[in-house]
Assembly symmetry: C2
Homo-oligomer: 147 residues x 2
DNA sequence: TTGAAAATATTGAATATTCAAGAATTGAAG
DNA sequence: CTTCAATTCTTGAATATTCAATATTTTCAA
């Protein structure tokens, strides 16, 4: 069994570092694909979450897309300017703002999904089907056990 | 075998998303521990890499600690102010700047290592020894296959 | 019912990061 | 040699993120 990192272990033996490194690499690849549509990764996440057609509050959305509230607010401002999404005040709780994807946002989202799917296909090609699904399973389980 | 994500799959089925989510969670935990010493995660990485006592050029260091060059330059400026590290011009190639950890930096690094080790121990407790080492193995292999 | 506390989203100032350009040095071809 | 391209690091301006404070609405206990 792998030993845990000790005082003198290189940083590459720390789980936190390996996660950061892998995330950086994969995120860069995705970023570079999505740049074809001029859209940052976070905006793809937002459009994807909103693509279920239901309204999502800013709080829900911030959790789902891994951004904190003020950052999300400002990104949504930009997306509203680009007519990709729109705000509606929640009639049941007027503190909340419900976000929806516009038709334009939905069309863009489909193209972004294709780019993201093709990235994942590319990873599976190099890295293997079995490793990919095993890694996903372990990541899900790590996330569960950490929250 | 797990199916790859399709147009309508939730974002949680994408490897890129799972990596981002896991990284965010684990990084936050580490950040919260290291804040006890008032040090951001990136500074721990820098001190750890420099703790071998060898000089590392800014370029090397930027790769190793997952920061791009200008960001690293500015972080190093702060750490020089705090007397944690110092710059030496490389005598063999005067374009390069070699970075070294000061004694103060080395002492701080030991305390930070302990905090990081205790975090990893905590993860292993909840998540399991076997899962942790398997996850590390898969991450290393993903990084290899992606670079 | 009222008033204080909690929840939700946004704003503005402070901070940090990134992009593009610059300065210094080296390498290498003519 | 000499000059021109490549490498390395830093800087300054533009951009983005974060922290703390604010405004609004809801909840709930007295």
């Amino acid at each position: 069994m792998a030993k845990p990192p000790s005082q003198n272990s290189p940083i590459t033996e720390h789980l936190a570092y390996l996660l950061a490194q892998a995330n950086r690499e994969i995120n860069r690849q995705l970023e570079s694909r999505l740049s074809q549509e001029g859209v940052p990764v976070e905006q793809w996440r937002i459009l994807k979450v909103l693509s279920d057609g239901n309204g999502h509050s800013m709080g829900e959305l911030a959790d789902a897309v891994l951004l904190n509230h003020p950052t999300l607010t400002k990104m949504i401002d930009r997306m509203v300017s680009d007519a990709l999404v729109y705000r509606v005040q929640d009639p049941d709780d007027r503190r909340k703002v419900l976000m929806f994807s516009s038709d334009r946002g939905k069309i863009l989202c489909k193209r972004l999904n294709s780019l993201a799917m093709s990235q994942e296909a590319h990873i599976v090609e190099n890295y293997g089907d079995k490793s990919t699904s095993e890694l996903k399973r372990l990541l899900e389980s790590l996330i569960d056990s950490s929250s």
